[in-house]
Assembly symmetry: C2
Homo-oligomer: 273 residues x 2
């Protein structure tokens, strides 16, 4: 496997674009040529959230996702120890093909790495979960402006008072992402995102943040705050950070996630969802 | 044709229900046995708004509806002078089959009648327009509560600052109906009503009434006010009163409409829309 021996994490000047293929992005990540966030890269392709857990926790986590499909839309699961995820990509190696990973021990993040091979274990099961990048692609294609995209920020995310259905050690609040939209765009966005239940589907709330337990819209729990103008409604979708928050709260002795925004790019097309 | 000679407008104790056929309702209206409002009657069937205009105005009005299909969804048009509307019902006589009609002269309502035969002219063209009863049927069937229905009121309607596209003498604001809904129900209602563009489709506004020119939500321009609770959003749909308001504003020398709430019940099923 090629390496960049002197500066393993510094990206070479490889140019990945919206038109890159998914395999090009994965190979660039694998070879240390791409360690950036994947927003806007290979944009026709489904990008996924990752949760990598010891097999002893896998059955409960799978059930947690199945009982909470709106925030936790399961798109693929690996065999224990296997670096492949059936159905999500040819020549896909989960240990190397994501630009950045987070390593967690006992619920604490202990490092951010660009290669998992030193951490890999034969009992690790990888879960791939749908991501809002897919529906944002559809919203932008329909001419609905997204402020965090135009401002180059991460989307604003909040913990709510809407509980998930608990399974074993996995429980916790539904986390939502928020996009401010004019009412007419919000109405169209409901219709557009309802078509893709595999990537969170329709919004779960519109309007007053306090009704879902958000006390200050200007203080997101994750991501970046964006302004909500007087002629806009805050529109809230269930978010893939929900399963990650449930895992962290479960404090497993060991687990791995992608770094938020640094996703696995799959061969699946958004248009297939 | 049977008549009730002594009290032509007093209904006999005929029992029309949600399960009545459309023809039963039309025959009861025709024979003077039913002069009530049609909400909840023959509920599987499409009910329509009526505008009956002299042929000289018909081309412009048809074009007005075609250019403004969301508030003015045209479901049928008669030949001049014909009491039938092709496609909307067997044995349908527009002159007798609606429980109550309004007669207009120069933009003023001059009478409410239960039979048009004394007013009929060979140049009258009947326009049948989709009505929110159809989508309310769908909303209730999906378990979405509608306050004006549970309180036995007419829906609240408002003139907005959203202009229609004018044609000839026909112009004016889009009129909307408003239903207060919890956010989760509003999101489902968008999806449900988007499926039926022939009866106004998805809402055109959600939230702040002032953004569409409504200064006081407690003072509807038509229908009855209903409370909007703190945990609800006002949801606004384009309304079939829009074409009626455009006709009244055009002040034609003569025209006829149904009395609001007293609709023509067609053979078409809501499930066909």
């Amino acid at each position: 496997m090629p390496e960049t021996p002197t500066m393993p994490h510094a990206p070479r000047s490889i140019s990945l674009t919206a038109d890159s293929t998914a395999l090009e992005v994965r190979l660039a990540a694998r070879h240390g040529d791409f360690t950036g966030h994947t927003s806007g890269v290979a944009s026709a392709h489904v990008q996924v959230n990752l949760a990598i857990l010891p097999a002893a926790l896998a059955d409960d986590f799978r059930r947690f996702c199945e009982l909470n499909p709106v925030p936790c839309p399961l798109l693929g699961v690996s065999e224990p120890g296997s670096p492949a995820i059936p159905g999500l990509g040819q020549d896909l190696d989960i240990r190397t093909d994501v630009p950045r990973y987070h390593i967690w021990r006992n619920g604490e993040r202990v490092s951010e790495v660009t290669d998992l091979r030193a951490y890999w274990r034969d009992d690790l099961v990888t879960f791939a979960l749908g991501c809002s990048f897919s529906f944002e692609h559809a919203l932008l294609a329909e001419g609905i402006p997204l402020r965090h995209v135009s401002e180059g920020r991460n989307v604003a995310m909040y913990r709510t008072n809407i509980p998930t259905k608990p399974v074993g050690v996995f429980s916790g609040p539904t986390v939502v992402s928020m996009r401010p939209l004019k009412a007419a765009d919000a109405i169209r966005a409901v219709q557009i995102t309802a078509r893709t239940p595999q990537v969170h589907g329709a919004p779960i709330h519109i309007g007053d943040p306090a009704l879902i337990g958000i006390s200050d819209i200007n203080q997101p729990d994750y991501g970046d705050a964006v302004a909500v103008h007087d002629d806009e409604l805050p529109v809230f979708w269930a978010c893939g950070v929900t399963p990650q928050a449930a895992i962290v709260a479960a404090r497993p002795a060991f687990c791995i996630t992608h770094a938020p925004g640094y996703m696995l790019v799959t061969d699946k097309l958004n248009s297939e969802l």
